[in-house]
Structure formats: structure tokens, C-alpha cells
């Protein structure tokens, strides 16, 4: 589904990302872990063509992302608040995304009804604009909005950060369900090793822009990661 070829990103003298080769097959649930500045968000931003690679390229489902816009219909993401439109209510935002992805109101409502628990009555019908919601609730909106329109690739940067424990557990369930679908490739980055090992089939560790571990998740994975980061 996604393949990365000789990808580098440099700012001045500093190389922040340097990946020779990375293949993510269709349907995989892919976890990205690493310390601050390891290049996780840089990689995701490159995937979404929000920054330009210094060299190399990414191919998403046969579309080279920095050349064509054709990856947009089947890819969706939530990176940070800049993916939210502050002056809309959550409902309006969901419908807006829905319309962009060819889903009418009924479709969006049907999808949203699956997330009643996740929203915990704090999102819909609140008479609040997104900019006035708390950080955690904003995140919930952004994450759910990225599921609208059956995307084949879902990219979530730090989805667990800022969420309360109940919501974190629910989100894990949601991502697992999503990953269980054959056709959906999920990319998640996280600082929380426990969450990411629970959710992802494969975990890649980035350190200073380079891939240092590429693990197929098993019972020992958490230990291995803890040793890596602890040592």
C-alpha cells in the first residue's frame, strides 16, 4: 500500500529523517514509536505532502504523493488541531468532511452513531464551537472525522495523548476494529509503548530520523521496546 524510497528530510545541516526503504502492506496496522524529535510527525507530514522531501519519495497505492493529488480520496489523517476548523460545531465539521468525501448527512449520522460511547455525551449537541472544546474532546472529533468516508489509509499522530483513561481504552478498541478490516491500513504513532503494542501488528522504532527496529508484534515486544528505550 505504502512504500517509502530513499526518503530524507534535512533542515540546513540537520537530517531529521532518513529512511532507505519501508514497505507497509495493505491492511496492516502499523505503529511508529520514538522519542521527541525522532521524526515521527515528519514522516506523517511527508505522507500527506505537507512538507517536501529533500530526496526520495513516498508512493501511496501507486500514487507518488508529491507529484499527484490522487491519494487524497482514499487517505485521511488527524495530526493536530490544525486539522480542525475552530469556528464550526462538531456536527458541522463532520458533515463538512462528509461532503468532501462524498457522504451525505445520513451516512455521517450512521457512522457517528457507532461512537456514542466514545463521545461520552460531550461532543454532539453541545452548542459549542470546536475552538471552545477541551483539548481531549477536540482530539476525539478529529479522530472520528478521519474515519468518515471509508478511507483505505488512516494516519493518526499521537491519538492517545490528552485523552482520559476511559477514552484511551475505547480508542484502542476502535483502532483494533479498524485494523481488523482487511482493506484498511492504519498508521499510528505514540509515546505510549503499552498502547501501541496492543493495537499494532507491526512496530517500527525511529531514532534520530532512522529506523532502528522493525518488529512484528509478539508477547515479547513490549519488553524489547522497554529495554530499548530504558537502556
Amino acid at each position: 500500500m505504502i512504500s517509502v524510497h530513499n526518503l530524507t528530510k534535512t533542515y540546513g545541516q540537520q537530517t531529521v529523517l532518513n529512511i532507505d526503504k519501508l514497505e507497509i502492506p495493505k491492511g496492516q496496522s502499523f505503529g511508529l514509536v520514538g522519542n521527541n524529535g525522532a521524526g515521527k510527525t515528519t514522516l506523517f507530514s511527508l505522507l500527506l505532502d505537507l512538507i517536501q522531501p529533500s530526496s526520495g519519495h513516498i508512493v501511496n497505492n501507486d500514487v507518488q504523493v508529491d507529484q499527484s493529488e490522487a491519494w487524497k480520496p482514499f487517505t485521511s489523517a488527524f495530526i493536530d488541531e490544525s486539522f480542525l476548523i475552530g469556528y464550526l460545531t462538531p456536527e458541522e465539521y463532520f458533515y463538512f468532511i462528509g461532503e468532501l468525501r462524498g457522504r451525505n448527512k445520513a451516512d455521517v449520522d450512521a457512522l457517528l452513531s457507532n461512537f456514542t460511547d466514545f463521545f461520552h455525551d460531550e461532543i454532539l449537541g453541545q452548542k459549542k464551537y470546536l475552538r471552545d472544546l477541551s483539548k481531549g474532546n477536540q482530539k476525539k472529533v478529529g479522530i472520528v472525522a478521519s474515519f468518515i468516508g471509508n478511507p483505505e489509509v488512516v494516519i493518526l499522530d499521537e491519538p492517545f495523548a490528552n485523552l482520559d483513561p476511559t477514552t484511551q481504552i475505547r480508542l484502542k478498541g476502535i483502532i483494533k476494529d479498524l485494523a481488523a478490516k482487511e482493506e484498511v491500513t492504519v498508521l499510528v504513532s505514540s509515546h505510549d509503548l503499552i498502547h501501541v503494542t496492543e493495537v499494532c501488528e507491526r512496530i517500527v522504532v525511529l531514532n534520530k530520523g532512522e529506523i532502528v527496529r522493525d518488529i512484528h508484534t509478539s508477547t515479547e515486544t513490549l519488553k524489547e521496546l522497554e529495554t530499548f528505550f530504558g537502556g
Binding site: L50, P73, S82, L84, Y87, E92
Partner: protein
């Protein structure tokens, strides 16, 4: 303690994003400031003699007479633009400062604000001229000090009524009503207010009264702030109750409708964009200056075209100018969502076109000044639709200033939005149509001049697809730089 505060203030000034521009731009900014100071000073010096010459009577009395409007206008202006001193208080709250110190510092900071200093550039030279012209020094000083206190009163009144829109609109309406009734000679408010200002001169000791009022206002502002200095009190962000709007009638336009719906909400729900649109609306009346022959210089034939462009292009200049910065806070979303660049651009284009057409219809009252006036407006509209609509979109590709939607700061011109490329692009917006008109006007006759401009506009309209492909290319090229720039708040 004060040392810390001043240090912080200095850093926040020196390190602000707007200060970190290129060196030539700093020079330009400096020159601009000097020019501003110079003109105001000249106005202060010159106005005494201008008033004296025009035979309105004693210049000091004339100034006193209109002072009430000056003060009212100052207050309205402050309300719209002056920023409240509450920003940057939050990080100080839990530090070992006394609350009263923080409040004093925040209020004190407003004293040196531009909105207070600017008056000095006019009133100090004016007072100096008064002294030179042999007015009694003691009386002039009393008058001057009294007025100074009144400006500072405005400063603190503004702080206290901040964000009470109801109070503001009532006040603004009264102010406009007073002005109108004076113009039509129903009721002259200055008859009652002039003596108040005259007192300051005639009996200089009365200048103490405004100072007492000022002291009172300062202490009430102080008390008010101190009482409300909690995160959920005066420091809380204003939240308005949100209404979900449907605007379903726009659905028939497909993806275009989706964007238009969003843009309408953008305009309605954000202070900054509302201000831009209101400003654009007032442009409609700009033509009155030209067509009523109110100002002699504007009687030349080209000015009619100039007026036509402005009357119908208000929205285009005030809102269109800042596309795509209106979407700056969620630009990454727009760039990664299922949106084609061309659709996004054409939705903005349609918005500008619709607004231009609405302005043209609203401007039909210019028919009152003869069909020629309205023809100028129509021709201006055609040129705006055919040419200027592309030019603002094109220029927008280079405007990389993020817009803070909820604040009115910088609503009147942004330093960073003003760069060489956008400046160059204003030439064809205004100068070119005047040039085209002039060719027709001098070679054939005025009608030909209008016709030429209109044909030019229609030609532009005909080449829409081609021009859009070009603009789209520029936006794509600038995309990464723009995303990068919008990240820096």
C-alpha cells in the same frame, strides 16, 4: 520587580514575529512611522493657520467645538482596535508577584500604547503654535493637560467596557446620530459641549477635574481587574453559544456549495472576517466623494473609474486580498483532505464574484447622480470580476501571514502581508484600468474609455480556465512555504 516586567515587555516587543522581517523592511517601517509622525505634526502646526484662514473663528474655539466628536471617534476607534492588557497575564499569575503589581503593570502598559501617544503628535505642536501666537501660557497648559487626561480617560473607559458590544453599538449609534443631526442642523450637540472644553482654557485650574476623573477611572479599572483576575473570570476566553446552521440551499452547487457554506460561517462567526466584510461594505459609499464633487481633486475623468473599482471591489480588497490566509489555522486539513486545489480556488473566486455583484446592485443608488456615475460603477464591477478577482487570488499565493480569526488585531493592514510582490500586483488592480480608460478618453471619447475597460474585463473573464491553471500552478509551488509560514503564529 518592575525591572522584570520591563525586561519581559522588551523581549516580547523585540522578539515578536513582525519584528523579525528583512532589514530593508524594517527601514521601510521606520520611514513609514517617521512619515506618520511628520504628517501629524504638520497637521498640528498647520491646522491652526488653516482654521484661522478659513474664517471659522478662533482656532482654539473651533477645535474645542469639535472636540467631542474627536473624543467619541477616538473611543470607537479604540474599542475596535486597541488590544486588552490581559494577554500574557496568565504565566505571571502563579509566580511570586503580588496581584496588585500585575494589575498595575498591565494597566500601566496601556499608557504607552500607540492609541494614547498618537494624539500627542497633533496636540503638542498645536499647543506650541498657540503659545507662539500669544495665547496665555498658563491657560494653554491647563487646556493641554486637561485634554491629555481626557484621552487617558478614554483609554480606561475602553478597558472597562471591553467586549460589551451592546454598550458599544448604542454609543456608536448615538455618535452617528449626533453627527447627522448636526449636519442637517436639527440639533447641535457642540453648543453644549464646547463650553466644557472652553472652561479648560478660560479657567485653567478646571483641568484638575479631568485628572480627578482619570484617577477615579484608573482605580475602578484597577479594582475591576483585580477582582476578575481568575482563569474562569476576566481571563477566560469569551465563549459564544454555537448554533448549528444548515444552509442547505447551497447544496445544489456540489463541492462548491460545501466551501461556500464554510466561508459564510467563517465570515459570520469570526471577529476578524466580520470586520473585513463590514469594511468592504463601507467601500460602497466611497464613491460619494467622487460623484458629489465633494473633493475637487476627484473631479478628473479618471477618478470615476477609480471610484467604480472601489465601490464594487470593497469585498474583493478587504476579504479577497487575504485568501488563503483566512483558512490559515486549518490549512493542513485543507491540503490533505479530499479537495482539489482548483475547486478550493474557484470557490474563493465565486465568493468574490458574488460579493461584487451584490455590491453592484447595492450601489445602484448612484443612478441618482446620473447614468454616467452608474456606468462607471458597472464598468468597475466588470473589471473587478474579469481581472481583479484573479489578481487578488494570485497575490494571495504570496501572502503568507496567518490570520488570527478571533482577534481584530492588525485588521487594518498587516505589515507582513505587505511585500514587494503583492505591492506590484496592486498596480494592475488600480492603475491599469485608469490607464485603459485614459487611452479611450483621450483618443476617442469618454464612452470609448468605459467601453475599453469593460472589454478588458470581459476578455479576462473569457480566459478563466487558462488563468486558473496558472494560478493553481503558483499555489502548488508555494504550498509548502505557505504551510510552513502558517505554522508560525
Amino acid at each position: 520587580m518592575l525591572k522584570h516586567f520591563i525586561g519581559l515587555q522588551w523581549k516580547s516587543f523585540y522578539r515578536s514575529a513582525s519584528f523579525k522581517t528583512e532589514i530593508w523592511f524594517k527601514i521601510l517601517m521606520g520611514l513609514g512611522a517617521l512619515w506618520f509622525i511628520f504628517t501629524f505634526t504638520m497637521l498640528g502646526v498647520g491646522s491652526f493657520y488653516i482654521i484661522e484662514k478659513s474664517g471659522l473663528g478662533d482656532p482654539l474655539r473651533v477645535v474645542n467645538r469639535f472636540m467631542v466628536y474627536y473624543l467619541a471617534f477616538d473611543l470607537v476607534f479604540r474599542y475596535m482596535l486597541q488590544k486588552m492588557p490581559v494577554t500574557n497575564i496568565k504565566p505571571l499569575l502563579y509566580l511570586p508577584f503580588k496581584k496588585s503589581q500585575v494589575v498595575n503593570y498591565s494597566l500601566g502598559k496601556t499608557i504607552i500604547s500607540f492609541f494614547n501617544i498618537a494624539h500627542a503628535f497633533f496636540f503638542i505642536p498645536f499647543s506650541v503654535v498657540l503659545l507662539i501666537e500669544g495665547y496665555d501660557p498658563l491657560q494653554v497648559i491647563g487646556w493641554h493637560l486637561g485634554l491629555m487626561a481626557l484621552f487617558y480617560c478614554n483609554n480606561f473607559i475602553n478597558i472597562m467596557v471591553n467586549n460589551k458590544d451592546g454598550v458599544f453599538y448604542v454609543f456608536a449609534a448615538l455618535f452617528i446620530l449626533a453627527g447627522a443631526s448636526q449636519y442637517y442642523q436639527w440639533f447641535d450637540i457642540t453648543l453644549y459641549t464646547q463650553p466644557v472644553f472652553d472652561f479648560l482654557y478660560d479657567l485653567p485650574w478646571t483641568a484638575i477635574v479631568p485628572w480627578l476623573i482619570l484617577a477615579g477611572l484608573y482605580f475602578s479599572a484597577f479594582a475591576y481587574f483585580k477582582k476578575h483576575m481568575y482563569l474562569d473570570g476576566g481571563l477566560a476566553k469569551k465563549q459564544s453559544e454555537a448554533k448549528t446552521e444548515n444552509l442547505e440551499w447551497l447544496d445544489r452547487f456540489g463541492n462548491l456549495g460545501t466551501f461556500l457554506k464554510n466561508d459564510i460561517k467563517l465570515i459570520k462567526r469570526n471577529k476578524r472576517s466580520r470586520t473585513a466584510v463590514i469594511m468592504g461594505f463601507f467601500f460602497i459609499f466611497y464613491g460619494l466623494l467622487f460623484f458629489t464633487s465633494a473633493i475637487e481633486v476627484y473631479d478628473g475623468p479618471f477618478w470615476k473609474i477609480f471610484a467604480g473599482i472601489f465601490v464594487t471591489g470593497g469585498f474583493l480588497f478587504s476579504f479577497g486580498q487575504y485568501v488563503p490566509s483566512w483558512d490559515s489555522s486549518y490549512y493542513p486539513l485543507m491540503m490533505s483532505q479530499n479537495i482539489k486545489y482548483r475547486e478550493y480556488l474557484s470557490s474563493k473566486w465565486y465568493l468574490v464574484i458574488i460579493a461584487t455583484i451584490i455590491s453592484t446592485i447595492l450601489a445602484s443608488f448612484y443612478l441618482y447622480f446620473g447614468w454616467e456615475a452608474y456606468v462607471a460603477v458597472l464598468v468597475g464591477a466588470i473589471y473587478n470580476i474579469g481581472i481583479n478577482s484573479y489578481l487578488v487570488l494570485w497575490g494571495g499565493a504570496y501572502v503568507k501571514t496567518p490570520i488570527e480569526l478571533t482577534s481584530n488585531k492588525k485588521a487594518f493592514g498587516d505589515k507582513q502581508a505587505f511585500n514587494a510582490k503583492t505591492l506590484l500586483l496592486t498596480l494592475p488592480k488600480l492603475v491599469l484600468p485608469i490607464g485603459i480608460y485614459a487611452i479611450g478618453h483621450f483618443l476617442i471619447n469618454p464612452v470609448a474609455g468605459y467601453l475599453f475597460v469593460a472589454i478588458f474585463g470581459l476578455l479576462g473573464f473569457a480566459f478563466k480556465e487558462k488563468v486558473f491553471t496558472m494560478i493553481e500552478g503558483i499555489y502548488k509551488k508555494e504550498k509548502y512555504k505557505t504551510l510552513q509560514a502558517y505554522k508560525q503564529k
